[in-house]
């Protein structure tokens, strides 16, 4: 699906965070329990930030159409029932794809506060990926 509006991009970001939270919550067991629980909490916090951005960042005068961004480009399969190694692999791929999403989407956003938020979220995704591989 092409993400051609401010709302579509924010919806997609919220979907990514919601998937991340569900994956890390359901996959928080064994040696990964603490790390995954914290990552899930992080995703839930990011969801709230994105919801606030969608509510407060919308500016009618610059709601310009956006092109060249496809939701499918950032799809990663997540299976919280997988073994520990696979869960880490999936988590890493997901964090990489999500960071890429925020950077690509941020470059197309006409609203500077949202650009800054997306840049910060992308950096957080880099750190989350590092924690998964540490």
């Amino acid at each position: 699906m092409e993400l051609g509006t401010f709302g579509a991009i924010l919806r997609s970001a919220l979907d990514l965070e919601s998937r991340a939270a569900a994956f890390y919550r359901a996959g928080a067991r064994g040696d990964l329990e603490e790390l995954f629980r914290r990552l899930a909490e992080g995703s839930e916090k990011r969801t709230k930030e994105l919801e606030r951005a969608r509510r407060e960042g919308v500016a009618e005068m610059i709601l310009e159409s956006i092109s060249g961004l496809e939701a499918d480009s950032y799809a990663v399969v997540l299976d919280p029932a997988a073994d520990e190694e696979k869960r880490i692999e999936q988590g890493v791929r997901f964090e990489e794809a999500t960071a890429r999403f925020y950077r690509d989407a941020g470059a197309k956003m006409p609203i500077r506060e949202i650009v800054r938020l997306f840049e910060r979220l992308a950096k957080e995704n880099d750190l989350r990926r590092e924690r998964l591989t540490a």
Partner: protein, 483 residues
Amino acid sequence: MAETLKNYIGGKWTASDAKRALDVRNPATGEAIARVPLSTAGEVRSAVAAAKAAFPAWRETPPLVRARYMFRLKALLEEHFEDLARTVTAEHGKIIDEARGEVRRAIENVEVAAGVPSLMMGYNAEDIAVGIDEDCVFQPIGVFACVAPFNFPAMVPFWFLPYAVACGDTYVVKPSEVCPMSQSRLFELLDAADLPPGVVNLVNGDKEAVDALLADPDVAGVSFVGSTPVGRYIYATAAAHGKRAQCQAGAKNALVVMPDAVIDRTVAAILTSAYGTAGQRCLAGSLVVAVGDVYEPLKAELVRAASRIKVGDGLDESTQMGPVVSKKSLDRILSYIEKGLAEGARLLLDGRKVKVEGYPNGYFVGPTLFDCVRPEMTIAREEIFGPVLGIVRVDTFDEAVATIEALPYGNAASLFTSSGKWAREFRYCVPCGNVGINVGIAAPIASFPFAGMKDSFFGDLHGQGRDAIQFFTDRKVVITRWF
């Protein structure tokens, strides 16, 4: 069965005893989603009487306390933000992003009105004569009313209501009968904010209700947003009854593009201006005035980009343009396209051909672009209020300004340029109330007045910001000497 909307009078939800009612339709599907009663003059009288009864105690309520109601209201609006936006889209058709933007602006007005303890402060001078001091105080006046349009069903009443209430006046809203649901939802929140009964009132209806408000001797002033003929009528009728009036009316907004404009950003801004809210904004650009050599590249880019706009149900986040508000609007817009063709304009993009899969009964018309538009054509002079954009070609900046000056309206105009000189000249001389420089929708934020000139505005004080504070108050001068 669709819900029948109620009136909110004296702090109570009241079923109307009107004999007449209309269906409220979702423009994307054509289905009835509510019934709106067309209230009687007697019901309007009850609302005004409730507002009048509430006024003495409300005006004595300290501004700081009145501001706290605004803070409570703001919190409720934030809490119900998404639901409100979805209601706007359901009844109006605009895309959900635009609806969110509209609700945001409504909230901003509550935020600005919460500053009333400072905004309402008067001024004074000592020793205007020896031993004599003079004070000017701002005082609330009484009952005010608003007659709202369909195109911003949540926001427009909030250009006025928060300021009136914060200033100590009491209020009656008559929402658009085409899109009345957003105001009902907002009044549920006003009710939850625990304003004293009668401070705010809602009466659904049509011209009968409007005429009752205009004739009522207990209504001190009226705010209106809508078409020019109705604005002129309301202004004249209100004045004849000794009321204050501020009437925002129609528009025909030009977007002037200079040869040094940044084309890709300019085109994005033009498309948002012309086709956002399906062209049903009073700030919508409906004429592109291409100056000199920019004409060919601008035209090509407009066609390319406008043809990619995705039309559909506004609740689908991927949609970039929703339907128009009603079958009546759709028919009117289609008739303007016919007129444009009959008068010799060339159709570059024909919105009549648009089909939205799964929505056979929606009121859809796609982005429409005319070339070879001349200033004397009907489509260049009249407000179409739909996604129809015409390109006028001129040779010079002065000709572009003259094109704007010749229009009967003066709501908004925008200039796209990289030159500070042209920008300064444009903002200085165009006879329009809202001017954009490299901005296609020159929408003033809540702390600025929503301006307008010529046939786009009747009155002197506008909605929003400091103008609103002045409109909803009287200045009283007190000269004091002590023996």
